[in-house]
Point group: C2
Chain length 162, copies 2
Amino acid sequence: MDHTPIACSHHDHDHCIHDALEAARNLCVSRGVRLTDLRLQVLELIWQNHKPLGAYTLMEMLAKANTRRVAPPTVYRALDFLLEQGLIHRINVLNAFIGCPSPGTKHQSHFLICRTCGVAIELDEPTLNQQILQVAKESGFTVETQALEVSGLCANCAGANT
Amino acid sequence: MDHTPIACSHHDHDHCIHDALEAARNLCVSRGVRLTDLRLQVLELIWQNHKPLGAYTLMEMLAKANTRRVAPPTVYRALDFLLEQGLIHRINVLNAFIGCPSPGTKHQSHFLICRTCGVAIELDEPTLNQQILQVAKESGFTVETQALEVSGLCANCAGANT
DNA sequence: GCCAATAGGTTATAGAGTAACATATCTGCC
DNA sequence: GGCAGATATGTTACTCTATAACCTATTGGC
Ligand SMILES: [Zn+2]
Ligand SMILES: [Zn+2]
Ligand SMILES: [Zn+2]
Ligand SMILES: [Zn+2]
């Protein structure tokens, strides 16, 4: 069974970017929130590839793209907005941010993270979510957010070593 | 079904501390590594309760306990040692560290974290681990480490609100 | 006792994130 | 259009977390 994630495959990534920005625009319109130039630009930079980017990396990228310098609070506010709207996720173990391929649908933050190439693959496994909720319930715990961060080697990078 | 975790129950916590330090001593002896005064003291401080503590909080506690000031690298080196030996876990979402109740047995880092009282409950659910490995395998991903951090309200804190 | 290895001390700095306040931009209303 | 309140961004300064680099002390085998 070969379910190689798109992030690890050769693919038309312009398509990923386009879809993500389109979905973001639609969501923000439907919610009546403002996807400003800055927010859109940060989202676009995050989607440059399937690897999580740190806030300060994004700052540098913004500085190069914009000529103008951007201070930390500016980029963090944009990131906060994108997080609130579910357009990106935060990868705690990396202090970094990555675009969500399915914003709008309520879901948790479950990732496979390759330590070699840096790709982060978002999982969509309702049964995993269910089992986590079940385990928490047995301890009388009320779940608000989940973060599953699995680190290791993606299919490409594991294959390269054999 | 009431499986209230020990961390959320009234319990003889001296017993928790004693067991943890005893287990640590035994493990380090059997592995031929040195559980120095500093490392033991840091581990003991971490075990003061069932709440993750930050490195700088530990530094302050050390300073008070020791009279001598301790600089960041000192405490981080002790933490690195304890992490390597599996005596503590790192809670990424909090940038904090917590004692492991079952060191020596190879296992992953799965926690329920209460946002109100700060308690972190370590899960021991082999089936959850298995399911995560299965999901990763389907993506061709080689798992090295897992970090599941579920945030919400523990049984005590959820109950207090009703 | 001596040497190599390991652990800890010290200083400085990098990296991540926020508080507080000023300015600009947008939106709805007159 | 012009105004007022709300929202968004700019700016400065700072806190918290973590590590690099180098030096000294301690340990354990020979
Ligand atoms: Zn893509
Ligand atoms: Zn990879
Ligand atoms: Zn206890
Ligand atoms: Zn609680």
